[in-house]
């Protein structure tokens, strides 16, 4: 199987390089090995689709690669920095400067308006408020929400909320954007438009790692990484067969 071969050393344009990553969840005396010796490289400008059945470690992989969660073993380099050797503060700052996130549940701050949500990463990065506001407005206009700047999340539709989340993830021009089931909460029409937006972003040179079990999204990527039982079992082009295997609940 292609995914079983040892990973080559990272190339010069590699933005993400993970080696032998292991993650164990502990609940009382019980241990569950969620990731087992996962190695993965992502080149700058890649759009990688991570697929696999539910409960097989896709989100855990994303959390560990992005530094949101700790790992038990292995190395994760983002832009050459070993993020799991950093202090919590340094890792947080690294995320602020180099990463953007999109989640299935949007995770917008409900008490902020759309523009306030989008300008938040810029303020975290110590940008001047006026500049942050200008860029947030530009970004919202780019995702088609120029007329919804002052609406709170509860006043927006699901698709609009996810567009705000996309704008928020991109506004600080991160090196890499992580998207965890970005269309999971959306109807197919709205999901299509969000996917279109993600491709536009990718076309502009942005690196994207997208966790999904949506067949259509999987097929639209450049590269497919299939995760099963905490290991990468496929890493290659998103062919129909590969995508079908990835979304199948039957091992094979």
């Amino acid at each position: 199987m292609p995914g079983t071969a040892p990973a080559p050393p990272p190339a010069a344009d590699t933005i993400l390089s993970a080696r032998d990553v292991r993650k164990v969840y502990r609940t009382g005396s019980q241990e569950v090995e969620a990731l087992r010796d996962v190695s993965l490289d992502v080149a700058t400008g890649d759009m990688v689709m991570v697929m696999g059945p539910s409960g097989n470690g896709k989100t855990t992989l994303l959390n560990c690669l992005a530094g949101l969660d700790d790992i038990d073993d292995g190395v994760v380099l983002v832009d050459g920095d070993d993020i799991h050797r950093m202090s919590d503060g340094a890792r947080t700052e690294h995320r602020a400067q180099r990463m953007g996130f999109i989640f299935q549940a949007f995770n917008l701050i409900p008490v902020f308006s759309a523009v306030e949500n989008v300008e938040l990463p810029l303020l975290v990065g110590d940008r001047r408020p006026a500049e942050a506001r200008r860029r947030a407005v530009e970004m919202l206009e780019r995702v088609g929400l120029g007329d919804r700047l002052d609406h709170r999340p509860t006043e927006l539709s699901g698709g609009e909320q996810q567009r705000v989340a996309v704008a928020r993830a991109l506004v600080s021009e991160p090196a890499i954007v992580w998207a965890d089931e970005p269309t999971g909460n959306l109807d197919s029409h709205t999901a299509g438009s969000v996917l279109e937006l993600l491709h536009e972003v990718h076309d502009s040179g942005q690196t994207l790692v997208v966790v999904t079990h949506d067949r259509g999204i999987g097929l639209s990527g450049q590269r497919l990484v299939q995760v099963r039982d905490g290991t990468v079992v496929y890493d290659g082009p998103p062919s129909e067969d590969a995508v079908d295997r990835a979304v199948s609940t039957v091992p094979g």
Partner: protein, 982 residues
């Protein structure tokens, strides 16, 4: 128009409705607990699963009950301590009939010995004489100015009432020998007496020496000294039981050697027939009343006889003062209880929002609305029950702490009697029941709100859309506006404070839903709230005639209205705060500040509840502190007013008063005014006749320019002219501010300028009609009603005595030194000289002590505010876990998250403190400058240091209380908070 009855009726109806609804709710819950195990399991599950959070809810709900219980316990304690006088000073003695005519009293005693009035079982005749007692010699001499010789048959007294154990003479079997006396332990302790010691008794210019035969317990009749009818003493006179003939030896024809100097006023031998119902110490009030009525009926129309219902007076005073203290503490505590209710509502609102999805799922799987209400209600009822029980127990601890402090204050004031914690089981039950009722009403209201949730929105955790106006809402709003306007009209017409005060706010706040149809929410809420605020703040100045003498209930209501309106205004001023937060942009605090302000500004209802909770307590704390500061700063003014231009006052034995010439002869004395004192009965202000002290003033008193009169009849001319008029005209008197007031608390005037009163000498039955010519402030030395000396002497005769003197010292002489010389020189007259400055300082210290006590009590409310904020923050961390996770994922540092929570707490507490301090200062200013509650001409100086402390301490404490939840928020792991199933 009498408004009390309709208002009471409405309140009773409302209370009845609440009880009915609550009763039904409780019965349903009990039935569910027994018959619906599934409901029981659902209700208990959350408590068991989250014991820490359940404990927080119970702790929050418990504080209100603790405050209520502590108020009731204060009442119990005061009642018990006063009622204890019945045990120590009366025992079986229930009623006394007094006469100045020995023959009349003896005839009565003889007649009743064979045929007593109905209900009376024991009768005995007692003679008494007020004396001064001294012991020791030279510089070692000690004295007691207020003692009374009692001549009685001790064999009869030992069995008086049929129960030897309560008379105080149970172990005494021998009559007192001539030349010997029995004293009780109180006098023995005061003077350091033991059996065999020699005492000197002084009365009406003569003295004799006697030997202490025995010291008896202060119990029952052995503790009772018949009160001389002159002046008010904090302590009843110490009885000295003597052999028959001793009084005659002092005041009769064979009286002892005259003292070196002194006047010889008429002897004040009192003859009393003591009566007992034979029912023990604590007699049933109905039995006492019946016996008193029978005695009254038996002596009716006999002007020589005065019936003194001693036991009934003590027990009634106990009940009255207990109730007054309960009311005072309950009123002050009311603010804290309200704060507690707001906290409880907040907790349940948070609880319901947190459980929204879960409750939505229950609805989705077929749980009906009313079943949901019952499940949530059952869980709330369990919290409420636990809180009620715990609150009652904590209330005992709070009551004990307050009682301890109060006992020290009472002791410092010199009052006799014990002040020990008393807790009636019924008090605990009442406190717990009130607390439980409040909690259950809150639970019922919150559960009802939860049960209305939309299933889909609840499951998807979507906010409820704004409610569309309904005809019911419109009708209710219109009714509210109408009721408010009617209340205002009725209040103005009847000059009634409460309807006048609440009319405008009720109308304005009821108009909010109507305005909300046409105007933006901020305007629809902000404008009526501002109107209510302005009305509440300015009604004193606008309507001084109606609102001039504010009573305590009105004061509490005004505080609630102002705070509610202030909070409403603050809650719609979110844009101002947001702008201020943005103004801080570019600084290091800008991001945490924005995050910290975002939640309270966005969630207006919850923020308003928190803010109201906080401001209410700070408001009351500010008021109390300002009043205390005002008092503390007024010592020179009070001293000037109370002193009438003199430096010290000298009280002496009514039986053997100091003569003016004796005082003039003391080195350093420049001038002396003499006040003739008496204790007549007054009929005034529609009240039944009551005793109140009266002092006759002389030319010397008026000469030095007394200033205590604050208002006087305009036709009298100047202030000095008012004093002069009273001196010259026996139909005019000057009345002090606490006149005929029987309870603690601020003065409540019962008469006004120009009112006519009847003053009566109950010994002779003579009476006069007198007119209130002026009102006197700050009668802290208890001179009572001031009249011309001629009126007092003519009316009160032998029952008055010139035994108070005001003394002015020569320039450059220390008044304290002169007071010392007077006390040392005139001991035989029981002279007790006190400088006015010292008297005022002592009175102020006691008053300030009680203010401190009230503030400490209110501190509990502050605890609710601070702990409540902490509890709300703990829950906020749980509620916002996912959002915190997202912020952390975006790169917001844990430090920023922590600071955001601290900013949020600081924002709420700063707003609450500013609102409370601002409104409290405003009301205090109006209270002090527009009403006579604290006298007139009181300058209002803002005590910035105190206000600063009130601002800073609660904010600091709130930040400390928020530190733990803020740290917990900072520790939230982003992946764990964001985790969803893969």
């Amino acid at each position: 128009m009498d408004l009390v009855d309709p208002v009471t009726a409405i309140l009773l109806l409302a209370a009845g409705a609440v009880v009915a609804v609550l009763g039904g709710f409780v019965l349903t819950l009990v039935s569910d607990t027994v018959r619906r195990p599934s409901f029981r399991r659902l209700a208990v599950r959350n408590i068991v699963r989250r014991p820490g959070e359940a404990a927080l809810v119970v702790a929050g709900a418990m504080l209100g009950t603790a405050i209520i219980t502590a108020s009731l316990i204060m009442g119990d304690t005061v009642e018990r301590s006063i009622a204890d006088d019945a045990r120590t000073d009366l025992g079986p003695l229930d009623v006394a009939v007094r006469s100045v005519d020995e023959g009349r009293a003896a005839d009565l005693a003889a007649a009743w010995a064979t045929s007593a009035p109905t209900g009376i079982t024991d009768v005995t005749l007692v003679r008494s004489l007020p004396v001064v007692v001294t012991v020791g010699e030279g510089s070692e001499v000690r004295g007691e100015p207020a003692a009374v010789l009692v001549e009685a048959d001790l064999d009869v007294l030992a069995d008086f009432g049929g129960d030897r154990s309560i008379t105080g003479f149970a172990d005494h079997n021998q009559p007192v020998a001539p030349g010997s006396v029995l004293v009780n332990e109180t006098l023995a302790d005061d003077l350091g007496l033991r059996s065999g010691d020699t005492l000197t008794l002084h009365a009406v210019g003569t003295s004799i020496e006697v030997t202490v035969d025995e010291v008896v317990n202060r119990l029952g009749v052995a503790g009772h000294g018949p009160t001389a009818a002159v002046g008010f003493a904090l302590r009843s006179p110490a009885p000295i039981f003597v052999a028959p003939g001793t009084i005659d030896a002092l005041v009769g024809d064979d009286a002892g050697e005259p003292d070196d100097a002194g006047a010889t006023p008429p002897a004040q031998v009192l003859h009393e027939v003591w009566l007992s119902t034979g029912a023990g110490v604590f007699v049933d009030p109905d039995q006492l009343t019946a016996a008193g009525d029978a005695v009254d009926a038996a002596v009716v129309d006999d002007p020589d006889l005065v019936v003194r219902p001693l036991k009934a007076n003590v027990l009634e005073a106990a009940a009255r003062n207990g109730a007054a203290l309960t009311e005072l503490y309950a009123s002050i505590g009311g603010f804290s209880v309200l704060a507690g209710i707001l906290l409880l509502v907040n907790l349940f609102v948070m609880l319901s929002e947190e459980r929204k999805t879960e409750l939505g799922m229950l609805r989705a799987v077929g749980v009906k609305r009313n079943q949901l209400l019952r499940v949530f209600g059952l869980e709330g009822a369990i919290y409420s029950l636990a809180a009620a029980v715990l609150g009652a127990v904590v209330g005992i601890a709070v009551g004990a702490a307050i009682t301890g402090v109060a006992a020290r204050l009472v002791a410092a004031e010199g009052a006799a009697g014990r002040f020990e914690l008393a807790v009636h089981p019924s008090t605990l039950a009442t406190g717990a029941a009130i607390g439980l009722t409040i909690s259950l009403v809150t639970v019922l209201a919150t559960s009802g709100r939860i049960a209305r949730l939309n299933v889909i929105r609840a499951i998807r955790d979507l906010p409820e859309p704004p409610r569309r106006p309904t005809w019911r809402g419109t009708a209710a709003a219109l009714v509210g506006v109408g009721v408010g306007l009617v209340l205002l009209a009725v209040g103005l017409a009847a000059e009634a404070q409460i309807p006048t005060l609440v009319g405008v706010p009720v109308a304005a706040l009821s108009a909010i839903p109507l305005l909300g149809r046409r105007l933006p929410t901020r305007v629809a809420i902000g404008v009526p709230a501002a109107v209510a605020l302005a009305w509440g703040a300015s009604v004193f100045a606008l309507l001084p005639g109606i609102m001039g003498d504010l009573d305590f209930d009105t004061f509490v209501l005004q505080g609630v209205i102002l705070v509610a309106a202030g909070v409403a205004v603050a809650s719609v001023a979110d844009r101002v705060w947001a702008r201020l937060a943005r103004a801080g942009s570019g600084t290091g605090v800008s991001l945490p500040l924005r995050l910290g302000l975002a939640y309270p500004l966005a969630r207006r209802l919850r923020s308003a509840l928190l803010l109201a909770m906080y401001s209410l307590v700070i408001f009351t704390m500010t008021l109390l502190s300002l009043f205390a500061e005002l008092f503390a700063g007024q010592a020179p003014t009070f001293t000037r007013e109370v002193s009438a231009g003199y430096d010290l006052y000298v009280d002496s034995s009514a039986a053997n008063p100091v003569a003016t010439e004796e005082l003039v002869a003391i080195d350093g004395v420049e001038a002396v005014a003499t006040l003739r004192r008496a204790l007549p009965f007054w009929e005034a202000g529609g009240l039944e006749a009551q005793p109140w002290p009266m002092s006759g003033i002389d030319d010397a008193f008026v000469a030095r320019g007394p200033e205590a009169v604050t208002r006087w009849l305009p036709e009298l001319g100047s202030r000095q002219d008012a004093y002069r008029a009273v001196l010259d005209d026996p139909t005019l008197v000057l009345v002090p501010d606490f006149f005929l007031q029987r309870n603690a608390g601020p003065p409540t005037r019962v008469v006004e300028l120009g009112d006519t009163m009847v003053v009566r000498n109950t010994a002779t039955g003579e009476e006069r009609r007198v007119v209130v010519a002026g009102l006197v402030a700050n009668d802290w030395v208890g001179s009572g009603v001031l009249a011309g000396d001629a009126l007092v002497e003519e009316l009160m005769g032998a029952t008055s005595s010139p035994n108070r003197h005001y003394v002015a010292v020569a320039p450059g002489i220390d008044p304290e030194a002169v007071a010392g010389r007077i006390n040392g020189t005139l001991l035989a007259s029981g002279a007790d000289a006190t400088t006015f400055a010292a008297a005022v300082d002592r009175a102020l210290a006691t008053n300030l002590g009680f203010f401190t006590l009230l503030r400490a009590y209110l501190g509990l409310g502050l605890l609710i505010g601070i702990a409540g904020l902490g509890v709300v923050m703990v829950r906020a961390v749980r509620e916002r876990r996912r959002e915190i996770g997202m912020l952390r994922a975006m790169g917001v540092s844990s430090r920023t998250v922590r600071r955001a929570f601290l900013f949020e707490a600081a924002f709420v507490s700063l707003q609450g403190s500013l609102l409370g301090v601002g409104l409290g200062t405003l009301v205090a200013w109006q209270f002090i400058t527009s009403t006579e509650q604290f006298g007139t001409d009181n300058p209002f100086a803002v005590p910035y240091a105190v206000l600063g402390l009130i601002l800073v301490v609660p904010i600091g404490a709130s930040l400390l209380a928020t530190l733990a939840p803020a740290r917990a928020a900072a520790r939230v792991a982003p992946a764990a908070a964001l985790r969803v199933a893969d």
